[in-house]
């Protein structure tokens, strides 16, 4: 049997005691792998991540059924900061840097749970190697960084926490193509060099699948399709609705989009 660092077992999540958002969601992340979680807007990807990292109660949500196991232990009942200490670090959607702290202080927050000063210092150097712009703006308030710089900062914070499992929520949001490429490159690098396991939520399916080994596709609160990346890439529907490829295999132009077009809904 494969060694899974994370297993989400059939969870149901309800917001405000009424809105059922996850309806029997399951996924497994093998140790040391990069796994992609794709799906349309509102499918419940972010909710899944929050269920893992324990943030749901902060938004008046709760897991009503099923559970999450990390490293063989159930995470049930742990507060978010305890889950971080256990080794799960989430990079939140929309970067969420501390705007009125400096870049340096933001980085210090990333290393908040760590005690080894030396290790932090060397990790800091690694971050600067990955993201040179950060070094120049150490003393600036993070709120004034551009979007891309903020995303770099957010990922650096995660690196400094040295988690066993990193949850990345849409890291490419609002980033320039070159940077997207770089960031995904770095994600791959982090995975290979530090051995960090990564669960990646993305809209940019092409990029996400390029660094992952396994993928899940979510629709409406549950997984509708999953498999090794090669299999997903070969799937007709994935090609059309996630990769934007026309029937001929090439990309279709936005000029050709019809007013009334076929909308894909996986039947589930």
């Amino acid at each position: 049997m494969e060694d899974h660092i994370l297993a989400v077992n059939n969870i149901e999540v309800v917001y405000n005691h009424v809105v059922l958002v996850l309806k029997g969601m399951s996924l497994k992340v093998p140790r040391g792998a990069v796994v992609a979680l794709l799906g349309s807007n509102g499918a419940g990807k972010t909710t899944t991540l929050k269920a893992i990292s324990g943030f749901l109660p902060l938004e008046n949500g709760e897991i009503t059924d099923g559970g999450v196991d990390f490293d063989g232990q159930p995470l049930k009942g742990l507060a978010p900061h305890q889950i971080v200490r256990a080794g799960v670090f989430q990079v939140l959607e929309g970067r969420r840097v501390f705007e009125d702290l400096t870049v340096e202080e933001n980085l210090a927050c990333g290393a908040y749970t760590r005690r080894d000063k030396g290790g932090v210092a060397s990790d800091l150097d690694k971050c600067f190697a990955y993201f040179p712009p950060l070094k120049k703006r150490l003393k600036n308030l993070a709120g004034y960084l551009s979007g891309g710089e903020q995303q770099m900062l957010a990922i650096s914070r995660a690196l400094l926490a040295r988690p066993k499992l990193m949850l990345l929520d849409e890291p490419s949001l609002g980033l320039a193509p070159l940077l997207v490429e770089e960031i995904f490159g770095i994600i791959g690098q982090i995975n290979r060099q530090e051995g960090t396991t990564i669960l990646l939520v993305e809209q940019n399916a092409q990029m996400a699948l390029s660094v992952s080994s396994y993928g899940y596709i979510m629709e409406n609160g549950r997984v509708v399709m999953d498999g090794p990346v090669e299999r997903l890439l070969a799937d007709q529907d994935v090609q059309e609705f996630y990769l934007g490829l026309g029937s001929g295999g090439g990309r279709k132009s936005y000029h050709e989009v019809k007013h009334y077009k076929r909308r894909k809904r996986w039947l589930s």
Binding site: S40, S146, H255
Partner: protein, 259 residues
């Protein structure tokens, strides 16, 4: 070539010691979809902020419809016909969709404080006329009838972006400035948005200035592209031209994009 509807000349902007824009100039022709692209932090949003009046450039001018508007207050610029959508959605969260859209028309309405308190005669007529027009020309067009009375805060991300567009259209713009209209959207929503943008340009004669990182969309629908890097303009031309510009590839697109 006709006279540009919008032009910036030698824009320079700095915060403290940080040079955000350096001597940026370009001109937008009426009826174009004009794209601004560039790496993060290149100063794209800052350009829109200078055009809209939220930032005061250190140097340079903004010309709109042949008139120098550099010294015009932001709200007056809106009244002249400059509308804007925002990178991070900036809807009024305490209002319904309908009220958000109506608010867009603010500068074109006349009701003053006292008539508003009385809600009498012209004030009432103006409101009813506004309601009719908003319903028929905007809500209908953007297909948001079903949510018109919902508070915007509860809407899904893609719909919020659409309401923002609706609000901008209600401003009766001559030029519409859009900051990353499809960021964070899935393919399907991106297609819808692209369709709306093309329709707006074609059916309403509105010039569009757009910042976007989605290269497919830029290449497909824009007429002219300006590329920014470190606050400077590094390229200016048709999508085809800039796509092969070596500096653009180096700073922005990366090797892979070039097929």
């Amino acid at each position: 070539m006709s006279a540009p509807i919008l032009a910036v000349e030698n824009l320079t902007l700095a915060f403290g010691g940080l040079n955000v824009l350096t001597d940026v100039s370009f001109a937008v022709q009426p009826g174009q979809i004009f794209a601004i692209i560039g790496p993060n932090g290149a100063g794209k949003t800052s350009i829109l902020n200078c055009i809209g009046g939220f930032y005061r450039p250190r140097q340079g001018r903004v010309l709109f419809d042949g008139q120098d508007i550099s010294r015009v207050a932001p709200d007056k610029r809106a009244a002249l016909g400059l509308a804007r959508t925002f990178q991070n959605i900036a809807l009024f969260r305490g209002m319904t969709v309908l009220d958000n859209i109506k608010l867009g028309r603010h500068a074109h309405l006349r009701t003053g404080l006292l008539p508003a308190l009385a809600y009498w005669g012209p004030a009432q007529r103006e409101e009813l006329e506004l309601r009719r027009e908003v319903e028929e020309t905007i809500i209908d067009f953007l297909e948001i009838e079903h949510i018109r009375n919902q508070p915007v805060a509860s809407l899904a991300y893609g719909l919020q972006k659409r309401v923002e567009l609706a609000r901008a259209l209600a401003m009766r713009p001559k030029v519409l400035l859009m900051d990353e209209p499809v960021a964070g959207m899935n393919l399907e929503e991106t297609e819808d948005m692209a369709r709306f943008i093309l329709d707006i340009k074609e059916e309403r004669d509105i010039t569009i200035v757009m910042i976007e990182h989605d290269m497919h969309m830029i290449m497909d629908i824009s007429d002219h592209v300006v590329v920014m890097n470190f606050g400077q303009k590094i390229a200016d031309g048709t999508p085809g031209e800039v796509q092969h510009h070596p500096e653009v590839i180096k700073a922005y697109l990366g090797e892979k994009q070039q097929r």
